[in-house]
Symmetry: none
């Protein structure tokens, strides 16, 4: 009422966002399909996800997390080399 233009603008922004979110959902579904297909070909989906996630992380970052974990495990008397 105070400014009809603002309403139109607002609607436009909302619609642009909703359109993009739909596209994003399509991609997400595609990814799920690929995992399902991999499973159908005998791959372990859980491990596959871990592989993808490992490839994303920087090596030093992962090493640092593992180092802290080892410190904690040692402090608890559970030896290192347990893996993460």
């Amino acid at each position: 009422m105070s400014d009809p233009v603002a309403g139109d603008q607002l609607r436009a922004f909302v619609e642009r966002i909703e359109r993009l979110e739909e596209e994003k959902k399509v991609i997400s579904d595609d990814i799920k399909d690929v995992y399902a297909e991999a499973k159908g070909n005998g791959f372990d989906v859980k491990i596959l996800r871990k592989v993808v996630s490992l490839r994303k992380k920087q090596p030093h970052e992962r090493e640092e997390e593992e180092a802290i974990l080892d410190l904690y495990l040692q402090a608890l008397g559970m030896g290192p080399g347990v893996g993460m």
Copy 2:
């Protein structure tokens, strides 16, 4: 034994997933851009997010209410679609 894990197939799946995740990230960034643009036009991003989220949830809530109604009808031995 010659090939405990089908490397080529695995690689293909991983690459398809990574490709899709890149596309997904592009869309996510686009969404961020739209929010930024809206902010530049004087809109409150927090409100905008709330509006989008609410519009997403409302149809879902509606469906849930219908689902519970159907369940009640079933529980009473009146199948769904019986009408009133």
Copy 3:
């Protein structure tokens, strides 16, 4: 260097958490028992779960609607609590 990780403290935290998680598991099992008992009394567990879940969500939805209303009022320069 003598103690890179405070082992006693760490162990104490871990044990407190594990103790609490055990308690939590007991409660979860109790809930399962109640559902089983209800089933034994002829109730449909799926419906029952739906009822419980719906009763949980409704107050939350209500709060969310109020929140968005307040946000709109703020956006229009009318603080919350102004009334109508």
Copy 4:
């Protein structure tokens, strides 16, 4: 209307469940508090969670997962020993 007793019974079950879920929520909040306290004492919460989760799993189970992961990584030409 068809059977008022069923309604009373249903209400009783729902209330018992809701009561238990409240207790469960209290415990969950307690666990969160412990993690927060640990954080205040300089511990890394993310790693701490991993420690607790590791203690829950059986060793052989973890070893098996790691073995599969290594197979996949080798198939992709990423050496083992990366950790999990």
